[in-house]
Amino acid sequence: MQLALFLIFGALAVAGALNLLFQRHPINSALSLVVVMMSLAVLYWSLGAEFLAAAQVIVYSGAIMVLFVFVIMLLNAGEEVRTKGSRAAYNVGIPGAAAIFCVLAFVFLSERNQLGTANMGGRLSNGVDNIAELSQVLFTKLLLPFEVTSVLILVAILGAVVLARKEQ
């Protein structure tokens, strides 16, 4: 069951990411990123992180991607043009990304026996519910960082308003 979920949604995520890479129009890239985020939400759920799966759908594919699509439509962004700089980036970018992938894959595969396996609906070690444990830690031990993030969001809103305002 979990293997099937992983294979289906992992393949979907990789296909969405590749589509993001190969599409020329930004709106197509944005919509393929929505596909990636939705499949990642299913993978989070299969790893026992229900709250994060819901937050992924609501915050990432709901709020952030709507903002992206909104800006793309507002600026009427067309297809990108290939330039000299993009040829140089091709020559560096593809080998560089491949090299980083090879290093990561080597490390993960050589340590795969130590890493163990994932079980569907895995619980935390003390047998409590995932969301209960998450909220317990978030609202007691990490209350100050949690409140600071709300200030961060407020500052970001103010910054966005100031930056996007028409200059007088």
Binding site: L43, Y60, F68, A89, R112, A118, L124, L134, G159, L163
Partner: protein
């Protein structure tokens, strides 16, 4: 029963595609989208390790990453709007104010 290494490998694939897109793409919005893809790939590693160690701290990290990503997206898109308003282009090769 899926080895955790497969999840990490999937995250590595997504991260590498994000790096490639970041370097190859010429549209500033698409570059920003590929940064979001890389953030998501890292979040997957956090969740996978949180599952492995039966610890909730990895998931809390992902929660904070999501909050910061939301703030970052708001500010970044506002900057993109400001760039477009002054330079009438979204191509990063033509946004070279600090290069001249």
């Amino acid at each position: 029963m899926v080895p955790i290494a497969y999840y990490l490998l999937l995250a590595a694939v997504l991260f590498s595609i994000g790096i490639g897109a970041f370097l190859i793409k010429r549209n500033v919005i698409t570059i920003f989208i590929s940064i979001e893809l890389m953030l998501n790939a890292v979040n997957l590693t956090f969740v996978a390790f949180a599952h492995q160690w039966h610890q909730v701290s990895g998931q809390i990290f992902v929660f904070f990453v999501m909050v910061v990503a939301a703030a970052e997206a708001a500010v970044g898109l506002a900057i993109i709007i400001a760039i477009f308003r002054t330079r009438q282009t979204l191509n990063v090769d033509e946004i070279d104010l600090m290069n001249s």
